[in-house]
Subunit: 680 residues, 2 copies
């Protein structure tokens, strides 16, 4: 059952596609939550204190799930979180917000219910941070809809959210292959060379990503002639090898005379403006830039259609970045900072004054205050950005997704974004932004998969082996041992750091074994993914969602269920020779070094310390289950997978009926009719 | 066996006090290690490439211990570390250096040996970072001594290091009590109030720390008349309640006419200078400041004698901060930054140029380059700071420790420092600097205790509940459940963050239970600490050091042995209802909520998931062991502990002989003769 409670005048975020399945009720009838303050902010002019505040008493044993992309645990108790999309690469426990806002919570205690706040503005969730036994939600920046979801099961609550907000995005099958990325891969020759080296070592790969240097002076929808001469031919050359090029698209448009995208957008009034209607100029990668007005439907559609420039070269996949939006500086703030610093010169600075001065310049990037400095044109109405901030990247990417359906009606395109909200999950996937090569981030990655799935982002993943900081041979391998289960498997890293292509660590056999294992699993992963998308289910699930009556399973945050048949338990500590695993029912354990090299044993329900050598990964098959398993001999890309030669990983010898989803991997038409029952 | 190998002309760091126990050998006879480069740098003029590089092949199963204060694991394999003392509050996996340099390693593989590099300069340890199977050590910045230690046991190697470098510092017994600290405790009234609130809630406390605001304008050896009028009387008032005030002492001396410490130091030439002999001026807390020349023995002694100003008010404890030394800016760098920023103004900045400009100002603090800008006067010889950098805080604190022995010959003083090297462990303890209120830092804290003990810092501890970031009720409690075993137990936090006095979380009973448990354990902790100090042993030990033949114990990094009788296994995950524990031999498990409220059971050797409620702590007593346990009824400080009423925590009913060290807690004379055998 879904009930809708409206506060003030909500902004249409586009998240809800089936409003009819929610029953509208008066806010006075809101169950569970207490409204402790009801000063609905106006979208136009909200006072400091204007907000609606909800409170809920958390019993000791209650767990709280949800919020999608956040840097902490599955159970959200004991911290505060914000819906405030931000580009801040330090992902750690101290963070309250990352790039996305996913306003969905599940309270699982004496009472069980889900909560979806449909608002593009700021929300704070104090989940036992201030008072251990109180959940307090503060909604600012305008009216909103609150959807209250009651279902008997945890998965039921997630399913209901998806029914309300629409089915999840489905990428092409090749997007389940492995992709390599690096900020400073410098040109076509290097891209070719990296792909060839993987292939030469019998390591399968499907995608090469292009980060910002592929553009001409960081101008969206251009390609550097110097670094990628004859881009169309280059793309065709790689396509022949079943390698897909996946370029980045940034939110900011370079302010440059003669650059057609800028000139056309300016002419048509498609960019965000200052209050007086003048151009709002910020500094991002191309230097002085403007933002396409993602909340102006016409402007957003126009921006989406620009992707045609790349489609015309044969490209079929994209990643959208910098769309929180990230702002290195605003033109106005930069001028003010110069003036301010000059004022301090010659003064005798005490420490506090010095910090103030230092931070005027040092802290100039990504200030929340900038979001008050520019405006959108929403159906003719001027809306200040901060009131709708969290929707920006989501709206821009959704517009791209819709335009891509128009431009490529028969073939799916790959599209994922750094910033997102619920609703965008219909049009694109996400990656979790700029993580680091830290072992703790392997565990964070695992939790993110489950959290992202709850809010509909089935196609998602982290930068495997870590974006920031230095990767080591062992972290790359351990991380890949988790990444092989993630729909989006991409090795991506920052410039000026150690290179982390998997063939660089002197452990080719181990990395090859894991990459081959990934490809052996693709028939299962793709099938489970497609069924989850069709049925509004999750691919990655917490154990608590599957074993609801198991008290221990409730608190397991470092294992996951992947599809119907598999449990995983990655190693995420350096120098570990194994790890503890809670086995919630009798399972068959496979300890893989490669698809052909493994050992296996049965494990009863219980707790175990299980040895896992550096080149090994644990895969548990549930009792009575089986999964299809591809032969990977000679397989160098998803195109090489031979469904005629499927093998199986089975719990035991007994035949198992399995619903296999398969198709050509590119057609936009998907449906239950493509599922066939096979016996494994 | 200890052998000494000399490279070039070493700098006398004062670390080694018994050179005669090492046999001097020619570098050509160096066992185990291969010298891959032998360009010994000169202390005066080292070329870019001048360094001695050692290499060692690490067999797959070899572990590497050591390096003292570092942000990662017990086993150091798979990362690179630097000896390069630095003030950087982001303590995470990405770090290669913290505040201290402890140049001691143990290689534990087919071959087992210890390695102590006696050098004040830069060292890099690549421990399987670049190549998984290679240890590579690069020593720069001048000649040095390498001590090679061969002993059969891991503890034997640590003991040998201590014999070579001297016995560990011993604080007064009251320093084993609980201490409360907060950057912005603002004045005497607040200090009194905080102490009183603890006491009123029957929560024992022995120390109130004074952070920088207690000084007059951040001038060392002064007290603010405004905030602490009649400081001597205030101190006496608290002393009557058995509360010790522990003020902070920073490295930088305010450059201010009329400030006697500055004027006297300048007159005598006791401050660091630029190359031309002029004053080297930096910005730290007092604004423009100078550094006492810690490497000029006369200057260092003079600085140490300044502590008399506080001793005269009745103070008997100090913490030395900012002594890496931390540098917010140098006067020269600040002027250059102003000029540089002005140059950029009006230019059309592309992203890279913008970052450059932003970082000129934003990245001005604690640049390594500053260490080339100033000089020490070492026995009449000018030595550039960067060549001896890591010794600075250590030398300054050791000088203070020595002066305090002179000034207070009969009574011990409490002294600990943020920056340190091996050698300083004879004169002071350490805390691990600016950690954060993160669950991952509880585990880091546990590892730090063991790592610090290996290099002789027995009196050590972390800021319990975390210095930076927001503390939550549960992190404060979980952290205290580790802190109660740490010799230095201090709750300290930064300004502008949520207050974290333990009585503020609405969980008084749980916090009281843990604080009381701490005091119940003091007879054991003090006794084990004193015996470890007398016998050159460790108080906190890895399981691997105690159960050398146990393959599993080798890889346990989240449990510790505390003294001869106890194993601990703290919970360091939020919302956890328990944790996995490896029990290496049959033990008796106590699950404490307070000294009186616990349950207990026997656990056989093996792996367990053990439930631990939020208000509980696990304490395992080894078979055949017992520990003294104080009655804490009415106990509000260490002075209230009644050794006449000692109880015992015992493995079983059988009487156990225990060596109890006790004394008046303040006398400087300590010795084996104060140990008496008691039967528990």
């Amino acid at each position: 059952m879904i009930r809708k409670f409206t506060f003030g005048t909500p902004f249409n975020t586009g998240a809800v596609v089936r409003p009819e399945i929610a029953e509208e009720e008066s806010a006075s009838k809101l169950p569970f939550l207490t409204i402790v303050q009801n000063k609905v902010a106006s979208r136009d002019d909200a006072g400091e204190d204007d907000s609606v505040i909800f409170s809920y008493r958390l019993p000791d044993e209650a767990l709280v799930y949800g919020l999608g992309e956040q840097a902490r645990g599955l159970n959200k108790r004991g911290w505060r979180y914000e819906s405030r999309n931000t580009d801040n690469p330090f992902q750690n426990e101290g963070r309250t917000a990352l790039y996305s806002s996913h306003n969905f919570l599940i309270i699982d205690g004496e009472e069980r219910f889900g909560l979806f706040l449909d608002t593009p503005g700021y929300v704070e969730y104090d989940i036992g941070f201030t008072n251990y036994d109180e959940l307090k939600i503060t909604v600012k920046d305008g009216g909103f809809d609150l959807y209250l979801i009651e279902e008997t099961s945890l998965t039921g609550i997630c399913r209901a959210l998806r029914r309300l907000t629409g089915a999840s995005y489905v990428p092409p099958k090749w997007a389940f292959g492995f992709g390599m990325s690096r900020w400073d891969h410098k040109d076509a020759d290097e891209i070719r060379e990296v792909a060839d080296r993987y292939r030469a070592l019998d390591m399968p790969i499907d995608m090469m990503y292009l980060d910002i240097p592929y553009m001409d002076d960081y101008m969206d929808f251009t390609v550097s002639e110097e670094r990628y001469p004859q881009f169309r031919e280059f793309n065709a050359e790689l396509a022949k090898k079943n390698i897909h090029l996946v370029p980045i698209v940034d939110a900011g448009i370079k302010k440059k005379e003669g650059y057609p995208v800028y000139e056309e957008g300016r002419e048509k009034g498609y960019f965000c403006t200052k209050e007086d209607g003048s151009e709002f100029v910020v500094g991002v990668w191309p230097g002085a830039s403007v933002f396409p007005d993602a909340l102006n439907p016409e402007a957003a559609h126009w921006f989406g259609l620009q992707y045609k420039a790349y489609l015309d070269t044969g490209v079929e996949g994209f990643w959208n970045d910098m769309n929180e939006p990230s702002i290195f500086y605003t033109e106005d703030a930069l001028q003010a900072a110069f003036r301010k610093v000059a004022e301090y010169e010659g003064e005798n600075l005490d420490a506090e004054t010095f910090f103030e001065m230092r931070d005027v310049m040092g802290g100039i990037s990504n200030k929340t205050a900038y979001y008050k400095d520019f405006y959108h044109n929403v159906n003719g109405k001027k809306v200040r950005h901060d009131r709708v901030h969290n929707l920006y990247g989501s709206a821009l990417t959704s517009a791209a997704g819709e335009a891509l359906r128009e431009l490529s009606p028969d073939r799916r395109t790959l599209l994922f974004s750094r910033s997102s909200m619920i609703g965008m999950h219909r049009n694109a996937g996400i990656w979790y932004g700029d993580n680091s090569s830290m072992f703790s981030h392997i565990l964070m990655n695992l939790k993110e998969e489950m959290n992202a799935n709850m809010v509909g982002f089935l196609y998602s993943g982290a930068d495997t082996a870590g974006f920031g900081d230095q990767a080591t041979p062992d972290i790359a391998l351990r991380w890949l041992e988790l990444g092989i289960f993630s729909p989006l498997l991409r090795n991506h890293s920052s410039r000026r750091l150690r290179r982390q292509e998997f063939y660089l660590f002197g452990m080719d056999e181990a990395f090859r074994g894991m990459l081959k294992l990934r490809y052996a699993l693709i028939p299962y992963l793709y099938s489970e993914f497609m069924k989850a998308a069709l049925r509004d289910e999750m691919l990655f699930q917490p154990l608590a969602f599957v074993y609801e009556d198991d008290e221990r399973a409730k608190h397991i945050e470092d294992q996951a269920m992947v599809g119907e048949a598999v449990m995983i338990a990655p190693v995420y500590e350096q120098n570990a020779v194994g790890r503890y695993v809670y086995v919630p029912e009798k399972m068959r354990l496979f300890r893989f070094r490669s698809p052909e090299d493994y050992d296996t044993e049965y494990v009863e329900k219980g707790d175990y310390f299980i040895h896992v050598a550096l080149d090994e990964v644990l895969l548990f098959v549930r009792e009575g289950h089986a999964l299809p398993f591809a032969d990977t001999k000679g397989v160098l890309s998803t195109a090489d997978l031979d469904y005629g030669k499927l093998k199986a990983l089975k719990y035991d010898e007994a035949p198992v009926e399995y619903e296999l989803y398969n198709d050509d991997g590119v057609t936009r038409e998907i449906g239950e009719e493509k599922i066939r029952k096979i016996v494994l």
